[in-house]
């Protein structure tokens, strides 16, 4: 038993264990997702997060110990965001043809996201930390955290709400879009990227490169729009 303990102590001190856990949990999530005929509610990110949190809670592992290993996967988010230029370039002719419509749609979506999230939170008497964290929830995490900090909120809580928003959009978005009869891949992509940033974009890319390109563009422009508009709107209302 003592030997097993030693092995455990050794393993949990190296990045290998939690890196492997992250990949294995995601593979499991993807397996369930494909077994479930790609039903959006079986989102692999959601399944992997739930599974890993359960494992960490059961083994009494702290988040920062887990992140020591998982940071290698986390790091790839940056280069992957840069790589979104590739689908955008391939679809640029389409984007250019409807440039004005794209800008107006993203601005409309961006404003809707901020006002409705804060409005609903306010009506249901959320604390001011909650309201600040809700306001930039549709924006990609690093920008949302920066905005929350600027407004005097909690960046880490903001990051969590951003991620839950991303998963919510990725899970429900396809149903909602089909329900309201939107079939155009460009419009579907814009909606996914504006409402649920990178997680929505990852979802859109799995289905159509056109949707993925528009979604990546929407993610970038919504980040810019919210970063500029939110502090102004916030000063106006509060």
């Amino acid at each position: 038993m003592g030997e097993l303990r030693d092995v455990w102590v050794y393993l949990s001190a190296t990045p290998l264990l939690h890196l492997t856990l992250t990949l294995a949990a995601f593979q499991f999530g993807s397996w369930v997702y494909s077994r479930g005929k790609m039903n959006p509610t079986l989102n692999p990110v959601l399944l992997a997060v739930v599974l890993i949190v359960a494992v960490l809670l059961v083994t009494g592992t702290r988040y920062d110990a887990y992140f020591e290993g998982a940071q290698f996967v986390h790091f790839l988010l940056g280069p992957a965001t840069v790589a979104l230029a590739i689908p955008l370039y391939r679809q640029f002719e389409r984007v250019r043809r409807s440039a004005l419509a794209v800008l107006v749609s993203i601005l409309a979506g961006s404003t809707t996201a901020m006002l409705s999230a804060v409005g609903i939170g306010y009506v249901l008497s959320g604390s001011s930390d909650t309201l600040i964290a809700l306001a930039p929830k549709s924006v990609t995490a690093p920008v949302a955290m920066g905005i929350a900090e600027q407004l005097g909120g909690l960046p880490s809580l903001t990051a969590v709400l951003v991620l839950i928003t991303g998963i919510t959009g990725a899970v429900l978005g396809p149903y909602v879009l089909t329900l309201i009869g939107v079939k155009d891949w460009a419009a579907r992509g814009l909606a996914m990227g504006t409402a649920s940033h990178g997680i929505g974009t990852a979802r859109a890319l799995q289905v159509s490169e056109i949707a993925g390109a528009f979604s990546g563009l929407a993610m970038g422009l919504n980040a810019l729009a919210t970063a500029i508009l939110l502090p102004l709107l916030w000063g106006f209302f509060f």
């Binding site: 043809r97 993203i106 409705s116 839950i164 879009l177 155009d184 409402a195």
Partner: protein, 129 residues
């Protein structure tokens, strides 16, 4: 292959440095995306090796959100205290944002002569995107 991985990291690095220097309200990787896009425009095509690096990264984009997502365990208390406004606001606002963005786009592009249809260049899977 390695040279294009270096190019991607280089774009991100320049992006990070630029946003730091200018105190710009966008993250470094988004500026990096603009830089890589400019490179592609100047070159006029996507080199095969760059495409294989980029497409590989993007195929696993969802995986990369998992470590940050696990961070939810740090905030069980805060989330528990305010769960109702958070849950309702996230759910309704996300759905509303999706509907408004998609409808505005559909409405604004409806009159365009070359109609952008769902059939072009993609493979619909269960009508999902």
């Amino acid at each position: 292959m390695l040279n294009y991985l270096t190019l991607i990291l280089g774009c991100q690095l320049v992006g990070e440095l630029t946003t730091q220097a200018l105190q710009a309200p966008v993250p470094g990787p988004v500026v990096g995306m603009v830089l890589l896009f400019t490179f592609l425009m100047a070159r006029g095509s996507v080199p095969n090796d760059l495409a294989s690096v980029g497409d590989t990264l993007l195929r696993y984009l969802s995986l990369m959100f998992v470590p940050a997502g696990v961070g939810v365990m740090l905030h069980f208390k805060l989330l528990g205290d305010d769960w109702l406004p958070i849950a309702v606001a996230l759910l309704i606002s996300t759905i509303l944002t999706i509907i408004v963005t998609a409808w505005v786009m559909v409405w604004l592009t409806r009159a365009d002569p070359p109609a952008v249809g769902p059939e072009a260049g993609s493979h619909p899977k269960d009508g999902a995107a």
